[in-house]
């Protein structure tokens, strides 16, 4: 007797195979879409983060504590080259490069503009930044001393081209007056407007001479693959040897705006997903309501035979649970397979090729297959479907045997 509800439910499901299959298909379709879209979205965010970090920021940075909030020249990292080498050894990656920053007046023959100066290590900088690969005119810093590469918009505003000289005038780390004249060897075009408009780079050794920095730097940029971020971070932390004056900042701390933009985008995407989920739930509601209404006469007989309402309710819920569970599992499988195909083969859309050339970034991206892309969509559809099946149950509870038997 305990199994009668289940047995009846199973038979009811196959009473109209086409309807059942169509209902499941709708769920599978929605689930596949949700899994694929979420996977695509996570993949895209990942690409966005990677591409943003690759330009200049790096995956993480070592800085003197307090420098990120208030970048004063005197908040610097002592013996920065030694520390950078230590991190390279411990984390076993090459992509570790020290940088120093200052703000100075930059003057060409005709114009003077305030700009950000970054002192970089020409040997390691290409591993943590795409800028060395985005030279539009001339060449990147060669490792020789006293040369400058300039952002494209800044170069235009200063009216200079490679071969011209720039005069820098600012303050050194010790408050002394820092000034130098250096030739422009190249112009870079990173595609990031802020950087192209207000930054120029020079070798860190020259920077240290001009701005009185000794062997110091303001930041040690750590690049590398983000999949290994945890391992690299642990190695870098170990290299700091508990120095309280130094901090390791991850990308969320370095670019809080990027994280917020992603969160905002994700939230708005969920509104769309919610609409999809509600639509599927209404489809399910329709199916279950239909199957309950057409069985009114049958329920009347069952009730007249003494079957309680509760048992009938359990039966209906079991029916929808079987449908919803099947839909969810198949949907996850289909969505997972589809996403996995693109994960292996890469996903691209028209125009990405050109973009990759322009910004020195990969031309395909890979959607993500993981618990967080597989589970939330199908699970939401499952729950919404079960909730939708409660209405027919509630509707059925008011049924009286006599009236039900008289129904057609």
């Amino acid at each position: 007797m305990t199994n009668t509800a289940t047995t009846l439910a199973w038979r009811n499901i196959w009473r109209h195979p086409r309807r059942t299959i169509l209902t499941i298909a709708a769920m599978v379709f929605a689930d596949t879409l949700l899994v694929f879209m979420l996977g695509l979205q996570f993949g895209q965010y990942r690409m966005m983060i990677d591409n943003s970090l690759r330009i200049f920021t790096g995956q993480m940075q070592v800085q003197a504590s307090g420098y990120h909030d208030e970048p004063h020249m005197y908040r610097s990292i002592p013996a920065a080259d030694t520390l950078a080498q230590l991190i390279r050894d411990q984390a076993q990656i090459d992509a570790v490069s020290p940088r120093a920053y200052s703000f100075a007046l930059v003057s060409s023959d005709t114009r003077t503009i305030g700009a950000q100066i970054s002192g970089v290590d020409p040997q390691y900088e290409p591993q943590v930044s795409t800028i060395p690969g985005l030279i539009k005119q001339g060449r990147y810093l060669s490792g020789g001393s006293n040369e400058i590469v300039v952002g494209s918009i800044l170069a235009r505003n200063l009216k200079i081209s490679p071969g011209d000289e720039l005069t820098l005038l600012g303050s050194g780390r010790d408050g002394s007056i820092a000034a130098t004249v250096a030739p422009v060897v190249g112009i870079f075009d990173s595609g990031a407007r802020d950087i192209d408009r207000q930054m120029l780079s020079m070798p860190i050794d020259t920077f240290r001479d001009v701005f009185g920095m000794g062997d110091q730097a303001h930041s040690i940029i750590i690049g590398g693959n983000r999949d290994q971020a945890d391992r690299i971070a642990a190695a870098a932390k170990a290299a700091l040897q508990g120095d309280k004056d130094l901090v390791l900042l991850n990308w969320e701390a370095l670019l809080p705006g990027l994280k917020q933009a992603i969160q905002a985008d994700f939230t708005s995407a969920w509104f769309m997903y919610a609409v999809l989920i509600v639509l599927v739930a209404f489809g399910m509601l329709n199916t279950m309501l239909m199957s309950v209404l057409e069985r009114t006469h049958e329920f009347g007989i069952l009730l007249a035979l003494g079957v309680r309402h509760g048992k009938l309710g359990r039966m209906i819920i079991t029916e929808s649970a079987v449908l919803a569970l099947t839909g969810m599992l198949l949907g996850m499988l289909a969505g997972g397979l589809l996403t996995w195909y693109f994960l292996v083969n890469g996903f691209t859309y028209p125009g990405m090729e050109a973009m990759s050339e322009r910004f020195n970034i990969p031309s395909v991206f890979h959607p993500e297959v993981s618990i967080r892309s597989l589970l939330p969509g199908p699970l939401a559809v499952f729950i919404a479907t079960l909730l939708a099946s409660l209405y027919p149950v509630w509707h059925m509870r008011k049924l009286r045997p006599i009236e039900a038997l008289q129904a057609v």
Partner: protein, 252 residues
């Protein structure tokens, strides 16, 4: 309703009368303070100390001024910085000379509120022209007492169209035209920095604020002090001193 507005009007009139002392011209006091500070011409020898939490450095410099618009400052020590010079003509034409690279750079107007030679003074502050007299509206707030002197506390609000970054400035000027304090407030009327006079002595034949400290309010441990050692007013200063060629190749 009518009674209420009448009362407000009366109150306004009464308070107006209470603050606006008859015969005191706030704008005149500001002008006199600047004239007192600059003289017809002036020559000074000063030192500037920049204080930061983990270091402090000082420079010596000579300054010349002529009329209310021209100023020249030349660093004399330490050796690393000696020879650096700044020339101010008019209100917003500032040039900087660096001997190390032998170049003169015009400071763009967008950089006028940036730090001058790493100190807490801005490029604007060091020129200290009479711009404030004409570009601001001045109101006497109150009269304080200081060592037997009257101190006029004057609020100066820049004209709507004036190219000034400040929301307002408040000057404390003693009745012998020595300025005791100068507050700079941003557009939200929050005090950003305060110039305080720490010592007043007779120099160059007049009472003068010989020791002043500029302090950013947000950074308690950071300030810049200027001490005046020598001061001479109204001596003959040739006009060629305030030229770009003299900035680069000093004739003195």
């Amino acid at each position: 309703m009518r009674i209420k507005s009448f009362l407000i009007l009366v109150t306004l009139l009464l308070t107006q009368q209470a603050t606006a002392e008859p015969g005191i011209d706030a704008k005149g006091i500001i002008r006199d303070a600047i004239d007192h500070y600059r003289g017809l011409t002036s020559y000074s020898e000063m030192s500037m100390a920049i204080h930061r939490p983990d270091w402090e450095r000082s420079m010596s410099m000579n300054g010349w001024s002529s009329g209310s618009k021209k100023t020249l400052v030349r660093v004399t020590a330490p050796p690393r910085d000696a020879g650096n010079a700044t020339l101010v003509l008019d209100d917003s034409k500032v040039w900087s000379y660096a001997p190390k690279i032998n170049r003169v750079i015009r400071i763009p107007s967008s950089m006028m509120s940036q730090s001058w030679m790493g100190s807490d003074f801005s490029n604007k502050d060091i020129s200290r022209t009479d711009e404030i007299v004409e570009q601001y509206d001045h109101t006497l707030l109150r009269i304080d007492e200081h060592e037997g002197h009257k101190v006029y506390v004057i609020e100066s609000i820049p004209h709507e169209e004036a190219p000034i970054v400040w929301g307002k400035e408040i000057s404390h000027v003693r009745d012998d035209y020595v300025e005791l304090e100068h507050h700079f407030l941003d557009q939200d009327m929050q005090t950003v920095k305060i110039l305080k006079t720490l010592d007043i002595q007779e120099k160059g034949g007049r009472m003068f604020a010989v020791h002043q400290r500029m302090n950013m309010l947000e950074k308690e441990n950071e300030w810049t002090e200027i001490s005046v050692q020598e001061l001479d007013f109204d001596r003959e200063i040739p006009d060629y001193l305030f030229t770009l060629s003299n900035l680069r190749n000093p004739r003195e």
